[in-house]
């Protein structure tokens, strides 16, 4: 299996092909993922989320450039939503990352959310593993911050940057929707626009309420991605937070939870698949009965569970 060796050596063609196999849910991909798993866990996974147009891709571009100047290898996964109607997608994040295309130490992959109903697909998690195993020091994952994908990125990433923009009502919304908990670092991008300082204050106030006496309040950093302003500070902040997370075992806890979730997810999927294939007729029969109010859904489920354990 020389694919494995090539991926571990950072061969871009092989990495790209493997990610395609993963997206196609191929059996081979699963076998390869099993074998490269021991080589994962070294990369720092940074999630970048926020509203469409908030400047995430521009930030990723500038972050990658600074990290490259420190000789770090960078994997980038840029996720855009798949149309639930056609299954198609336009993946346009690379427009802001053109200068990175020929950088030896950068690998960029655009992914549609595909079947993941607004969230991050399993393929995205696995693609991150591939980049990790291939020797990337940082993996930057850009996702549009709508609904489930924000929750998902918090599970997948070691550190989440929540990108906000002044004058978009982001502040109020975020506080209302309870997404303040997701951000490990708050990035106020487009701070060349009016209201940046006010937004910083509002977020800091809101964080003060959320975090009260907890040790580390998430930092709030102002940036202008298009001009590179604030990006050095952002990189430093990420590094400081990283030190903190590793020293306090927080990172270990985060990653343990992630892996537990993954195993439970795989179990759920396979048990459910098993039930659905073995009992599909029985389930349909019970559905019909429940429609006629001859049985209730709870008892219907219990019947299947009982049959399964017999």
């Amino acid at each position: 299996m020389d694919t494995i060796e090539a991926v571990l050596n950072g061969n871009k063609r092989s990495i790209a092909k493997l990610i395609t196999l993963i997206e196609e849910k191929s059996h081979d991909a699963k076998e390869i993922l099993k074998k490269i798993y021991t080589h994962t866990g070294k990369a720092r996974i940074i999630g970048i989320t926020g509203a469409p147009g908030s400047g995430k891709s521009s930030l990723v571009d500038k972050l990658a450039k600074i990290l490259r100047s420190k000789n770090k290898k960078i994997g980038i996964i840029a996720v855009d939503p798949t149309s639930p109607f056609t299954g198609g997608a336009i993946l346009g994040d690379r427009i802001r990352m053109q200068d990175l295309a020929l950088d030896e130490g950068v690998f960029i992959r655009s992914m549609g959310t595909r079947g993941a109903l607004g969230g991050l697909s399993k393929a995205c998690y696995d693609a991150a593993k591939v980049l990790d195993a291939s020797g990337m020091d940082y993996i930057l994952i850009e996702t549009v911050g709508v609904g489930q994908s924000e929750i998902d990125i918090a599970k997948l990433a070691d550190i989440v940057l929540l990108v906000m923009v002044p004058g978009m009502g982001d502040d109020v919304q975020a506080i209302k929707a309870g997404i303040m908990e997701i951000g490990d670092i708050f990035v106020i991008n487009k701070s060349d626009k009016d209201g940046a300082d006010r937004l910083v204050t509002e977020i800091e106030t809101a964080l003060g309420l959320c975090f009260e006496k907890k040790e580390l309040k998430p930092p709030v950093i102002k940036t202008i991605a298009t001009e590179g302003y604030g990006i050095e500070e952002l990189v430093e902040t990420i590094d400081v937070l990283w030190e903190y997370l590793t020293k306090k075992d927080y990172l270990k806890i985060k990653r343990t939870n992630r892996i537990r979730q993954e195993i439970i997810g795989l179990l759920t999927e396979s048990v459910l698949n098993n039930i659905m294939t073995t009992y599909s007729e029985k389930i349909e029969f019970l559905v019909e009965k429940a429609v006629k109010r001859q049985i209730d859904p709870y008892s219907a489920a219990e019947i299947i569970i009982k049959e399964k354990s017999l």
Partner: protein
């Protein structure tokens, strides 16, 4: 909807001229036909295009050209793909390309040249029949 394979297309615009309206129209049409379109914007060099195509593992590269440099840019993309052992990627082109150049471009390895006014459905059909 459990999808397995999906056609991935890189739409790129080499050359220095400044607008990409045509490319965007194609990108949307391909998306609406269920493909994943990687859109990279203006002023791409052949090197950038080929490297991007490899990292994105696309099945098709669609090049939109208005600048008149097609006789240089298009064969260059083909040549670079060959150097990277990636000549399995289908390369198609659209834009203002004179009739008399088309044969030469096809000989150089461009799978098809779509002149302005080609219905997008024709391009979609071409891609769907030629991607294995």
């Amino acid at each position: 909807m459990e999808d397995t394979k999906k056609i991935r297309v890189l739409i790129a615009k080499p050359g220095l001229d400044g607008h990409d309206r045509g490319a965007k129209v194609i990108a949307r049409a391909l998306r609406d036909s269920g493909m994943e379109v990687i859109y990279t914007g203006l002023r791409q060099t052949p090197e950038q295009i080929v490297e991007t195509a490899i990292q994105e593992d696309v099945n098709v590269i669609g090049l939109s050209i208005l600048s008149g440099a097609h006789n240089f840019l298009l064969p260059k993309v083909i040549q670079l793909l060959k150097e990277k052992n990636a000549e399995d990627i289908l390369v198609i082109s659209g834009g203002v390309i004179p009739e008399e150049d088309i044969l030469g471009l096809k000989e150089a390895g461009i799978a098809e040249v779509f002149t302005p006014g080609t219905p997008t459905s024709e391009i979609i059909d071409f891609i769907k029949t030629h991607v294995k």
